[in-house]
């Protein structure tokens, strides 16, 4: 610690700090453009020049370390003169087109030029003009406005992990750009919009839509992944105009994934459901809420009375709130229905009700890990903010390894990686466990596991990963969506859990969206009741569906489709209209989106984050917790007298406090052998994970989303099956036949073919991650 003085205020600060950091902590304002607390120091804008006692000239506050006895003056004549001169230089080439600039009103250059700029420019020469670059559907460039602070360049190198923007040319000809025009590939690219201190990089979907001073900011929580990024909704009248991150060091720091930033576009989609509707003789009629709710209850009651409550299934999207989840199951259980589930894409329930809990763990702990192993996870697409945390750990020296069905560039140093099919994944994990069990002398008291371990000697890969884990002071194992959606997911989870136990690591089974809240709320099947897969496979007479599309958000699209078509009564609570919904539902209850309702989000770190509605629900739609409350009232289920969503949360908390779950003995699979010839890798594409995202226009135009129509297979498998990339691929799964364009891609594991879900083609397949046969012929349909 050193003693310094800024503007006469004595401060005691850490000696590693720069003047600007000390000043920021003390709340003393120093103007800046290039300095950003989360990025490296460039000191190239010179706006933060301050006077330092005993220094001959003004010094940049961002790049001058504090020293004992230092006296800094931020508003002295020397400092102000220096800052004014810098401002004059910066404005030389700036177009001063504030009236037509989107940044106007929230522009750091505009703000500071009010304080430090001259009213009249002395510069009479021509200003330079820079051609705009097209860097994709999310970010708009106006490079003439650029002041070369290089925040966006440093963001790419240091945070996103992919340097796509750079400074080409020299002197007056220097330009920030990609040089070769292409869309940015980073899933965090939108952050450069916030970082840009001027209007050079602005949001493309938001362009010319609103002015900063017309909007009100409302805090909220992003619902698309398990992070629960803190966001701010910028609202004008009753429309969410854009979304920006809200700083929360323990969750998303200052960042936001593109998914969370641009999904708001779907809120105003023409397909939004705005009126309650009932089907009368195959015709849809808009009705009032009372009629719709009564029709729903009547229909369900009829089935229950005639066939029993076990003929009704309730399925709910894990993106819905804790309150919605709780009321959903409370209402259905009040009717006697126990077939309730939120695990829509899960196929293996053998380890139910095991929860692999992780208490006292925060996202920040990932950064502290010195060994991280990813299992069945395309982490950048699944949980972009978690991927960023892992990357930060890797940059600080953590050894990151990756075992997955396909390999992609994780934009970080990877120690060991392997693309495997399901059999190899299971034997590799078992091999790692075997090495660890030998190391830990655990072999005596563990017969059941010993029998599962491979007899062969462990491979180098298995030994390396095992050593990496056992040598680590703090190791983290992460099981991602690709593993969790697999039909043998429980085996993978059990093995990873065993490895974690043997090596003293943390095992994180990444939940989908708000799943943790759903477990707390108990949107899980009761004893002897059916899970989501059984509800589809055993074709029930009635379904209550909430917040998802059966064709895109389930593990068995064709079976779900048939079950819904066969069912005699289907109630759907949803925000988006679709042809399929109209074909299959009998009652449609339009529900509000996350911006229009209050609720609670419980993320991967088990933090309860509450948020309030920012805008009124669209049309006649209603927050789902209110719909469920009235459904409870109309069906005369007791205990539905909630006045606010807070009452619901209070009840959940009380139930949780009273609940004493007995520890469940760990699930041990019977065998690790799986029959697999050619397995489909059914990844949920990054910008297609829920209905809201699928209706967001800009995200659907990204190259990532454009690529999902291709089936992908490696060269070896292509040769084995006699495939070439010129002819579309015919995939056959039982009775389903679909055709897709084919791409040869060596990052795909042997014995696998990559087919993204949530596409039209994928919705015609029987089961995701299932076995398929492939062929190429012109005749197939």
């Amino acid at each position: 610690m050193v003693n310094i003085e800024i503007d006469g205020i004595p401060l005691k600060v850490d000696s590693s700090k720069m003047i600007i950091q000390a000043a920021d902590e003390a709340g003393i304002d120093i103007p800046r453009f290039c300095y950003h607390k989360k990025l490296s120091i460039a000191a190239n804008c010179r706006m933060c020049l301050v006077e330092v006692d005993k220094s001959r000239k003004a010094l940049p506050a961002c790049a001058t370390p504090v020293t004992e006895g230092m006296k800094v003056f931020t508003h002295s004549k020397v400092a102000i003169n220096a800052q004014r001169s810098v401002m004059e230089f910066l404005l030389i080439n700036h177009p001063l087109d504030c009236p037509i600039c989107d940044q106007g009103g929230e522009c750091e250059l505009q703000d500071l030029s009010m304080g430090y700029g001259e009213g009249v420019s002395r510069f009479t020469e021509g200003k330079r003009v820079v051609k705009d670059k097209d860097i994709g559907p999310l970010i708009r460039t106006d490079m003439t406005r650029c002041i070369h602070c290089t925040r966006c360049v440093r963001f790419g190198v240091e945070i996103a992990g992919v340097k796509e923007l750079g400074a080409t040319g020299r002197g007056e000809h220097m330009e920030i750009g990609t040089y070769v025009e292409h869309s940015l590939v980073s899933e965090l690219s939108g952050n450069i919009i916030d970082l840009c201190p001027v209007g050079a990089l602005t949001s493309k979907p938001f362009r010319y839509k609103a002015r900063a001073w017309e909007m009100k900011a409302h805090p909220s929580i992003a619902p698309h992944d398990a992070i629960g990024s803190n966001i701010e909704l910028h609202v004008r009248q009753n429309d969410v105009m854009r979304v920006v991150p809200r700083d929360n060091e323990s969750i998303n720091e200052a960042w936001l994934s593109d998914r969370d930033r641009f999904s708001y576009q779907a809120l105003a989609h023409p397909k939004r459901l705005t009126d309650p509707m009932i089907k009368v003789d195959d015709d849809w009629q808009v009705v009032d809420w009372q009629t719709a709710l009564e029709t729903a209850i009547k229909g369900l009651q009829t089935i229950i009375n005639k066939h029993g409550a076990e003929e009704v299934g309730g399925l709910i999207s894990p993106t819905t709130t804790l309150e919605e989840a709780f009321l959903f199951q409370k209402w259905l259980r009040g009717l006697g229905v126990e077939n309730i589930d939120h695990r829509l894409r899960q196929q293996d329930f053998s380890d139910h009700p095991q929860q692999y809990p992780l208490d006292n763990w925060t996202l920040g702990d990932v950064q502290e890990s010195d060994a991280i192993v990813l299992i069945g996870s395309h982490i950048r697409a699944e949980q972009p903010i978690l991927a960023h945390r892992i990357r930060q750990a890797a940059m600080m020296g953590a050894a990151v390894s990756n075992i997955n069905f396909f390999l992609t560039d994780l934009l970080m140093p990877i120690e060991y990686e392997m693309a495997v099919d399901i059999n190899t994944m299971l034997t590799t994990l078992a091999g790692i466990a075997k090495v660890l069990s030998t190391l830990m002398n655990d072999s005596d008291n563990d017969d059941e596991w010993q029998a599962l371990y491979p007899e062969r000697t462990p491979t180098a890969f298995e030994q390396n990963v095992a050593m990496q884990l056992s040598n680590a002071a703090s190791a983290t194992l992460i099981v991602g969506d690709l593993a969790n959606h697999h039909p043998d997911a429980a085996k993978i989870r059990a093995l990873v859990h065993k490895i974690a136990e043997l090596s003293g690591s943390r095992c994180i089974v990444v939940p989908s969206a708000n799943s943790h809240a759903h477990v707390i709320a108990n949107t899980l099947p009761g004893k002897e009741a059916k899970n989501s897969l059984q509800m589809w496979q055993q074709s029930l007479r009635a379904y209550v569906l909430m917040g998802f599309d059966a064709l895109h958000d389930t593990a068995v699209p064709v079976i779900a489709k048939q079950a819904l078509k066969r069912a005699s009564f289907v109630v759907a609570l949803h925000s988006f209209d679709s042809e399929f919904l109209r074909q299959t539902a009998d009652v449609i209850l339009p529900m509000a989106c996350f911006t229009e309702t209050s609720g609670t989000f419980v993320g991967i770190d088990k933090q309860w984050q509450q948020f309030a509605g920012a805008v009124a629900p669209r049309g006649d739609s209603r927050p789902a917790w209110k719909i469920l409350r009235v459904l409870g009232n109309v069906s005369h289920v007791e205990g539905f007298d909630y006045i606010s969503s807070q009452d619901v949360v209070d009840e959940v908390r009380q139930i949780q406090a009273e609940r004493h779950d007995k520890p469940i003995p760990p699930y041990i699979p019977d065998s690790l052998t799986v029959e697999s010839d050619l397995m489909m890798i059914s990844e949920v594409p990054m910008y297609r994970t829920d209905a809201l995202l699928r209706h967001s226009e800009a995200l659907q135009k990204t190259p990532e989303t454009q690529r999902i129509q291709f089936a992908r297979i490696n060269r070896k498998e292509a040769e084995k099956h006699g495939l070439n990339h010129q002819t579309p691929l015919t995939l056959t799964q039982q009775d389903s036949v679909v055709r897709l364009p084919l791409e040869i891609d060596d990052s795909i594991a042997d014995g696998c073919v990559y087919v993204a879900t949530t596409t039209d083609a994928a919705s015609r397949l029987v089961s995701l991650f299932g076995q398929v046969s492939v062929s190429q012929s012109e005749a197939a349909t």
């Binding site: 340097k163 796509e164 923007l165 750079g166 400074a167 080409t168 020299r170 990609t178 040089y179 070769v180």
Partner: protein, 170 residues
């Protein structure tokens, strides 16, 4: 011109001879810091490619050094000695910076333009000369000066320019 291989795995990029030359420079920097060798590598590749760098060459170098393509573009666009378009057989870089300008580089430029019938940045129709205006080359003592290929020519006069061009043309 040496045939270059510009796509495929790292080990097969360029020719073996070129790889050896590049590796010599890369070895001068600590492991993982191959980016430091980007300038000498660009020189080697430019020379092997008839005096200019194509995008494919820069991309291949980025791959070879395990850095992003933009990091190579940044360097190649910054320095005036790297050419991003094909150039003539001989490159004339005339300094028009302050010392040379005071000693009459403007007249020299005028004369060069007349003699070659091209403007700065252009190449003669016969592909023999490319004319460039450059900033200070550190030979102010002999101003005005120009650099032709790798040779400095100082104390320039119109006669000297004529002699120089005649010599190349003959």
């Amino acid at each position: 011109m040496t045939e270059m291989v510009l796509t495929g795995p790292k080990q097969t990029l360029f020719t073996e001879q070129l790889r050896l030359a590049l590796d010599k420079w890369i070895a001068k920097y600590p492991r993982g810091r191959a980016q430091s060798a980007v300038i000498p590598c660009l020189h080697i590749l430019q020379e092997a490619n008839g005096g200019w760098l194509s995008r494919a060459i820069m991309d291949a170098l980025a791959e070879y050094l395990s850095i992003s393509s933009i990091s190579v573009y940044e360097v190649a666009t910054f320095y005036s000695m790297f050419e991003l378009e094909p150039v003539g057989k001989h490159k004339i870089s005339l300094c028009t910076n302050i010392s040379c300008m005071l000693c009459g580089s403007e007249e020299i430029l005028e004369h060069l333009q007349q003699r070659l019938a091209i403007k700065p940045g252009e190449t003669t129709a016969d592909g023999l000369f490319t004319l460039k205006e450059v900033e200070c080359l550190g030979a102010c003592v002999g101003a005005p000066m120009l650099l032709m290929d790798k040779q400095y020519h100082e104390y320039l006069t119109k006669e000297k320019i004529d002699a120089l061009i005649d010599e190349v043309q003959s």
